[in-house]
């Protein structure tokens, strides 16, 4: 795929007119997918896709086109046709005052080879190992390709073999243990070990469940639950454009509101599986501090925002969202989280978060999967789904008692359009109080 992409890119660049600039991008994958229900196969298949995008620039005008490549010789002809179409489009456009491209070639080649078994072997391992359990889940694996090339001679390639197996073990109704096993080399015994651990934890869900009255409770958010909170904040919270247009959910931090000094968040590309270049070919810095000890730090600045607002670009994607969010650890040992919680809610997962009042940083969502009522530092009972509604300034501000010293690297399992290369590296969070409403 790499050679073919660079050949097409070079072929197009050779056909450019003197005043034209071309950016080319490839987003491809060879993936195997298997979904399971009741520890049997619900749907299994494979996908091979190559989405090729070009951006033509001339006289400070720009337009882009994307097309699905076949992987065959006729792709270059198809790409030439797309290029011709863009030339016609440019003729109808005015100058773009916010155009910014990387003109200093910085070529890179990165990636990671994995050890992935034939997907049929994984399907066999999952259905055999989970026999007798109500396992529902999903296995996605294969190679992800990301490429960039431009007419200045820059060439970037990123290729990763990875797998992500994400599943739930159900006891009954909505009572389940959520687990995942992701990485670069599949090991059936490691999967089986996790599965056995999950099966043991299911026993806790067999206790009579408790429905809590709305009110305020101490709470511990496991890393997966905290990921939902940071994921919602990533929805414009760290965007330079959102800051400039006053639409950020962290708007009040621009007016002096702060989070706890324990909270430091960064975009940490160096320690992620994301490509080290963004879609326009800008090389990403190793790290961008977003919140430093409770105060707003840098924003994610896309090239377009950089030009619009007179800022220095830091190679953010077009949506200015983190792809490798990293939260600094605290001092609480994860093994001591229940004891530190003492009495309150242990929340393994949160679900479907959204804003109750975006400008005020107020958010809502529900508990999901294994969430428990804890008394005296010990799990007392599973809890039925509860809705919280609280502000980020209380949750990660005054009410943040501690963060765990141990963190989890959470690979994003999203497969909308393509398999994601995003990740988050997060601790758990102990809250003195969290408001529940329903």
């Amino acid at each position: 795929m790499k050679e073919q992409f660079f050949e097409i890119a070079s072929g197009l660049c050779e056909a450019l007119r003197r005043d034209e600039t071309l950016l080319c991008r490839l987003s491809g994958e060879r993936s195997d997918f298997a979904r399971f229900n009741h520890a049997r196969v619900r749907q299994a298949g494979s996908v091979e896709q190559r989405l090729f995008s070009i951006r033509l620039i001339r006289a400070r005008r720009q337009a882009s086109a994307s097309l699905a490549l076949t992987g065959r010789a006729d792709d270059l002809e198809t790409a030439h046709a797309a290029l011709a179409g863009l030339r016609e489009t440019l003729a109808q456009l005015p100058e773009d005052p916010w155009l910014l491209i990387a003109e200093e070639p910085r070529s890179t080649s990165t990636g990671r080879r994995g050890r992935l078994p034939a997907p049929e072997e994984v399907v066999s391992a999952v259905t055999t190992s989970a026999h007798g359990l109500d396992l529902v889940g999903f296995y996605a694996a294969g190679t992800i390709y990301r490429g960039f090339a431009n007419s200045f001679g820059q060439r970037n390639w990123h290729e990763v073999d990875s797998f992500n197996c994400d599943w739930s073990l159900y006891l009954h109704a909505d009572k389940a243990v959520k687990q995942s096993y992701a990485g670069f080399a599949w090991d059936t015994s490691a999967f089986e070990s996790l599965l056995q651990d999950g099966a043991r934890r299911l026993e806790l869900l067999g206790r009579p469940s408790r429905t809590l009255e709305p009110g305020e409770y101490r709470a511990y958010l496991a890393p997966r639950a905290l990921e939902e909170v940071t994921g919602l904040l990533s929805w414009s919270g760290f965007s330079a454009r959102a800051r400039a247009t006053r639409t950020s959910p962290l708007l009040r931090m621009e007016h002096g509101e702060t989070l706890s000094r324990m909270v430091s968040l960064a975009e940490n590309t160096r320690e992620s599986i994301a490509p080290p270049f963004q879609q326009d070919g800008f090389a990403k810095p190793d790290k961008v501090d977003l919140i430093a000890r409770g105060e707003l730090a840098d924003a994610l600045v896309s090239p377009r925002s950089a030009r619009e607002y007179g800022l220095a670009a830091n190679a953010a994607n077009g949506r200015e969202t983190p792809e490798a969010l990293d939260m600094a650890p605290g001092s609480l040992r994860a093994a001591d989280a229940l004891a530190a919680l003492e009495t309150g809610l242990y929340i393994g997962n949160l679900w479907y978060l959204n804003f109750s009042d975006r400008a005020a940083g107020r958010i809502t969502g529900t508990t999901r999967f294994a969430s428990f009522w804890v008394e005296g530092g010990r799990i007392a009972a599973p809890v039925n789904a509860m809705r919280f509604d609280d502000t980020i300034y209380r949750m990660l501000g005054d009410n943040l008692a501690d963060l765990t010293a141990d963190r989890e690297l959470l690979l994003d399992g999203s497969t909308y359009e393509e398999r994601s290369t995003a990740s988050a590296h997060l601790p758990g969070a102990l809250l003195r109080s969290l408001r529940f409403t329903l």
Binding site: N37, Q49, Y170
Partner: protein, 475 residues
Amino acid sequence: MAEFFHGRFRSLHCSAPFWSLRGVEETRELLAVRQDTIEPPRISLNRGAMLTVVTDGGYGYCATSDLSHTGLQAALDRAGAWAEATCDRSVHCHSPQDMGAPRGERVGSGCVRASPSRSEIFDLLADECRQARGDPRIVERYTALELREVEQVYFTNTGGDVRQRSSSAAPYAHVAANEGTDTQTRSFAHARQGGVETIGTSGFPGCGARLADEALKLLAAPNCPAGTMDLLLMPDQMALQIHESIGHPLELDRILGDERNYAGTSFVTADMFGRYQYGSPLLNVTFDPTIDAELASYAYDDEGTPAQKVWLIRDGLLERPLGGRLSQLRAGLRGAANARACDWNRPPIDRMANLNVEPGTSSLADMIASVERGVLMRTNVSWSIDDSRNKFQFGCEWGELIEDGVIKRVVKNPNYRGVSSAFWRSLRMVGDARTFEVHGTLYCGKGEPNQAIDVGHAAPACLFSAVEVFGGENP
């Protein structure tokens, strides 16, 4: 495109008793203006095919953008290998005899390639963006038009031959206004099938100035009051309410447990159909893929099942789920033709399509007049519901306080929360056909691998009693 795929299909070989090719070609063009600056146009041509094989007991798929004979044959072989590998471990014992051989064609109305030209469209977008300017508190203005044409074919080795085409021209706009630590947004969306000829009557012309005026009004408005009161939902918010608390809970694959690891389960169980009172007797809900302008209209779903209007809830009573051919076989329930895939690279699963609340008999004026204290809400801005699709909290951009049968003032940050299983029983008035509007969304997420698909929702205005309503700031 259809003939290209048909030619390729006829050149393929497979010894399985059933196999199919589903081909999709989609062109999209996004034109947008932000802060009076034309955004770079984005044009895409996405074309690929999914090959599916069903053997005795097994099922497998393989999707590829390599549309050469070699590429498609390799995909078909891979799909066959998956079917063989899963035949003794599938959640359902697949049978080639259950697969249909549909034949038919649908050509949706409208064309996005006709006039106006791209320049004329940019002029329209720029004009609405400019009309939203004028007050220094207006901080963001965005207008856009997404043009989309989709052509799909479905061929089976048993003689099935389905060809469908549709188009949509979806104008969109939003305007944000800020003062200190408060920012308020108003937006416009019009997601329907049809060509560019629909823009003129969509409400888009003139929306720039209106949205700016309304965003400024919201800045000056008090927060929505809190309390238990009447709630009047306008059709654009009804679309969200239907989607989240009727559509998703009635998806049969959720009820069968397929989605428990991702999108969630359902408070609805298979034994409820035919006897569960889902809402008040005023509630009538249909699955209707035959409304030409609605976003998810089609003649056949992506497994080739002929699509027709069916009633899911009649007079408040739950009748049938949203389940396609396979889910119906698994559950032993009658469903709908709603096995849909978002693109060529994702397999069909149970989805909403056009899911509508049928009009009632009340005028909007009568509904408002009947409210002693309540809030009218329109345009969704926030949605959150638990994984059983029961405990929800939704927010809107725009609210109007109603007291003693009269609209008194605009209120901001209107939110409400409730429980699906009780909420629909509090439905006390349903608007008549004059309040009925067609809406939809291009992005409903579900499935593993994930799929974002277009769905349509048409509804009248509806009045609910005794709902927990509240506003912004501190909870």
